[in-house]
Amino acid sequence: MIFNSFEFAVFFPIVFAIYWMLRLRAQNIFLLLASYAFYGFWDWRFLSLILFSTVVDYLVAQRIYASDDPGTRKRWVTLSLVTNLGLLGVFKYFNFFIDSFVEVMAAVGMQANIPSLQIILPVGISFYTFQTLSYTIDVYRKDNKPVTNLTDFAVYVAYFPQLVAGPIERSTSLIPQISTARKFDLNQVYSGLTLTLIGFFKKVFVADNLAPHVDAIFATSDPGFWTVMAGGYLFAFQIYADFSGYTDIARGISRMLGIELRLNFQFPYASNSPQEFWRRWHMSLSTWLRDYLYISLGGNRHGPVRTYANLMATMVLGGMWHGAAWNYVLWGFFQGTCLCVHRWWIAHIKPMFKPGLMLHLFKVLLYFQFTCYGWILFRATSLAQVGEMTGGLFQGEALNATLFLPLLQYALPMLIIEWLYASAKLPEKAAPFIRTAVYSLAFYLFVFHGEVSESFIYFQF
């Protein structure tokens, strides 16, 4: 079930109404059933994977907590890692590794007959796997105590607003909210409703209207400079509106249920460096990678060379988290390179410049170009297309301004509305009339000028 579907339009009001009629224990059981129904609507068979992950991590965390022996604790957390990453590996990466191996063998003149399997990628597996992993690792690191109630933990794993595309919640933040009583608050419901509206506006009006323009550009053979630039810019706003729109809907729906989900985006394209970008883009993933991968690898504690290597490894693995394809590896490598170069720059060159507004704006503009190039790697369907698009940047072409027109039509209204909303002026300080006018405009554009696609980009991850 996706948020912008008829099924969800029927599902959520029913869930909302029943949910608020129940008390805490019954509320959580109902929330769990609703979450399983939400997921099972896509394919009920894959509920078994969620159930399996839930039971394993619930038991593992209890065992870790019960033991003081470091060796025993390590064995249990390893079991959790192997189980979760094993499932992810089989369902997400098995065919990728097999196909890549066969291609490498073919490249050196050897034929390998290893059959690939018809494996369906379970929706949201990357998200809930990381979420449950963070729980067992937190318990292992003694940052958190295990949950005693299995239902509460199962809700934490399968909570439907954020189950399939995040934000990746930490147990320290979500479980206490699940375990304690929620109070119905009309203001919260109103706030959640407006956040959901903004999310739908971003997804349906902005992302889905930009999609055909992006598809057309990426289908162009032999693109020139302006075409590639337009492709990068348009996709940058499409993926942002799509993913942050989904997150806003998830957060809004959850707020209506009295549960606050974490912020996942904060004006990422206003970043003036890769470091800042990753503090603003998909924050729940970037902090996960930082806390559980980069720091585990040693972070910056073992000298500059190891730091660069750790950064690179984290970003390449982060790229692979997005999908089993070489362009995601390349994208991760590109992001890692940007972070390394930036780190080196700060250490060696930055002091040469005097900080100021103009320099800041220049850096924002400059880094946006790098971000967009990164999105070209991300959006490409093959390495050949990456080469073609990159080559296009060095191929002269007459400026076709109409290619950029969708930015004015869709991206600009989004930036204005989002700025009003996210800068906290809209929800709290703006006059009721202005606030309602903005919501009305967002609603009108999303309902009467939106396109309906059948998925969200990040569902495939």
């Binding site: 008829f6 099924e7 339009a9 009309l186 203001n187 109103y190 009721p432 009339f433 309602t436 006018a437 919501y439 009305s440 405009l441 609603f443 009108y444 309902v447 009467f448 309906v452």
Partner: protein
């Protein structure tokens, strides 16, 4: 709690008013619609002082910005070497094509590309049955003395609940963009289409079945058509003969086009689409609609020979590709391009 409720109700009311105002502003800016008063599709169709039904040139109406160079009220042709008048109902006028991609516009561009000077006038309008087409041909088309006249009759009008009469001109619509009448929410009107499109296909089908059965009212089973009704086909023939006689009397070279639908030469029948067609003609089953169209096309082929006018067999040439149709019989941009190409080939051959 009560204060919050009152406050939120106030926001809700303000929200509804603002959305309505935004809708009216958009209609006004994009489609020249009156800000207050009614605004309806019928508003772009009218009856001139000679009693001729016509669509306004460059008419625009909410979802589709028609952009078709509709019927010129001043009956004169451009200073071109040749002139062609393109006449039919909504399929010919252009209902779903993107602005400028309707058949007449594509045809004109095709001529320009080939360096041929032809003035194309789209005299079509939605809802024109053959007697109305004949009226247009007699006046003002005859007076415009076009060199070429292409006719695109719509047979399924003849399966309407009530019989098509050699008609009196319809009354001008009360919704013709003017003020007056009760308040009709633009948002509610627009929402109906959005909600319909949002519903699952199975539910949409059920609604269509319900609408069709409601339209049938007290119609008895005996009155439903299980086979194409011969009397309606005879009426279609009689009206086509009248139209062709009037067309030939203009002195123009005439082309008669067969009627294309989205079901001809399809390996599997799109039941949902067929249902959406049947909704408008509830006395007929889907099969009857398709068969009636086929028999009417056969008739058109025969009449073209009999009256010695050119036949452009669009039904055969634009068939088999669902992407050519936006619904059961109206064209998409690609479908319109195919029709335009056939018309151009005919003109260049003449």
């Amino acid at each position: 709690m009560l204060n919050t409720l009152i406050k939120l109700a106030g926001f809700g009311l303000l929200f509804i008013v603002l959305v309505e105002l935004i809708a009216r502003t958009e209609d006004s800016v994009r489609y020249d619609a009156p800000f207050w008063g009614h605004y309806h599709l019928e508003g772009i169709r009218g009856v001139d002082d000679r009693g001729t039904v016509r669509c306004e040139a460059n008419s625009r109406y909410k979802h589709f910005e028609l952009g078709a160079n509709g019927f010129r009220l001043t009956p004169h042709l451009e200073n071109a070497d040749r002139s062609l008048i393109w006449l039919g109902a909504s399929e010919a006028f252009g209902l779903y094509e993107t602005p400028g991609e309707d058949i007449a516009n594509q045809l004109e561009r095709g001529f320009a590309r080939d360096g041929v000077s032809v003035d194309v006038v789209n005299a079509s309008c939605f809802g024109l049955n053959l007697t109305r087409l004949q009226r247009i041909v007699e006046d003002p088309v005859a007076g415009m003395q076009p060199e070429l006249l292409a006719l695109y009759p719509t047979p399924h009008f003849y399966l309407d609940m009530i019989e098509v009469k050699a008609d009196a001109p319809p009354e001008p619509s009360a919704n013709n963009g003017g003020a007056g009448g009760g308040f009709v929410s633009r948002v509610a009107t627009k929402s109906r289409d959005v909600i319909k499109a949002f519903l699952p296909l199975a539910l949409q089908d059920r609604i269509r079945v319900y609408q069709a059965s409601r339209a049938l009212g007290n119609t008895s089973d005996d009155e439903l058509w299980k086979t194409p009704p011969a009397d309606r086909l005879a009426l279609f023939e009689a009206h086509t003969r009248g139209l062709l006689t009037a067309a030939k009397a203009t002195g123009a070279r005439v082309a008669l086009l067969t009627h294309a639908n989205a079901f001809h030469k399809q390996a599997t029948l799109n039941e949902s689409l067929l249902q959406s067609w049947q909704k408008f003609y509830p006395r007929a089953t889907g099969e009857v609609l398709i068969e009636f169209d086929a028999q009417a096309n056969e008739l058109l082929r025969r009449l073209a020979r009999e009256y010695n006018v050119a036949l452009i067999d669009i039904a055969e040439k634009v068939a088999g590709d669902p992407s050519d149709f936006a619904d059961f019989s109206h064209f998409t941009d690609t479908g319109a391009a195919k029709v335009a190409a056939e018309l151009e080939a005919w003109v260049l051959a003449n």
